[in-house]
Amino acid sequence: MNSPARIWAERTLLAFALVMIVVVYFYVTTPGLRDLIRPHHCLFFQATGLLCPACGGTRAIGHLLNGHLQLALKSNALAVFSLPLIFYGTLSAFRLVFDRSFNPSDIRINPFWLWIIPVVIVIFWITRNLSYFSFLSPI
């Protein structure tokens, strides 16, 4: 399938990948830019003092890469459990660009499981700010 929409999607993905590579290169090599953009700063947390669903996500991935699953779950359980989904999405993006036989419109997922995702995010967002569920907030 080589429809105009697919070609457009492929070009968008490649452009995004290129932009990401350039940003990461300059972020790593330019100390001034590193000081200007601080990804560890959560604007929502700074403004309200409440945790957002991604707070502790970077720490969670760091702990996971070091093999500390318990600490990773403590930092951000949602980030750990969403990794298979992120992996599947990345794999689909790669297949869209490089696999000619892959037709994205053949993907069939029960809509229930798709609508569950925002519901889980909102529930996680609310519960991790409640004192009763303090085990969901990062250390």
């Binding site: 601080r38 957002c52 669903p53 991604a54 994205p104 069939r108 997922i109 798709l114 995010i121």
Partner: protein
């Protein structure tokens, strides 16, 4: 007597449209706190939306619109938000200290 047989109608596949809509909604919700994730989700919504719109899938147009909003808001909050908070937060902390 008419000889009519029931024809099995296959339900329309709206997966790409719904993925696009869900990614767009999450992107728009999260732009305040996780602008970087919002931009990525916006791109996911835009790509799935356009691929779904070509197949005339439901919700694809809504996904495209939400994806575009999510990208724009995400980029604004990545660039402007960080700079504003860098400048504003120390000033506010200094001013509000009694």
């Amino acid at each position: 007597m008419s000889d009519t047989k029931p024809v099995a109608v296959e339900a329309q596949n709206n997966t790409l449209g719904i993925i696009s809509l869900v990614a767009g909604i999450i992107g728009v919700i999260l732009f305040v706190c996780c602008s970087y994730i919002s931009v990525v989700l916006g791109i996911v919504a835009l790509i799935c939306g356009i691929l779904g719109y070509q197949q005339k899938q439901q919700y694809a147009l809504a996904g495209i619109i939400l994806g575009a909003i999510s990208i724009v808001l995400g980029i604004i909050f990545v660039i402007v938000g960080q700079v504003i908070f860098r400048e504003l937060v120390p000033v506010l902390e200094r001013e509000l200290r009694f």
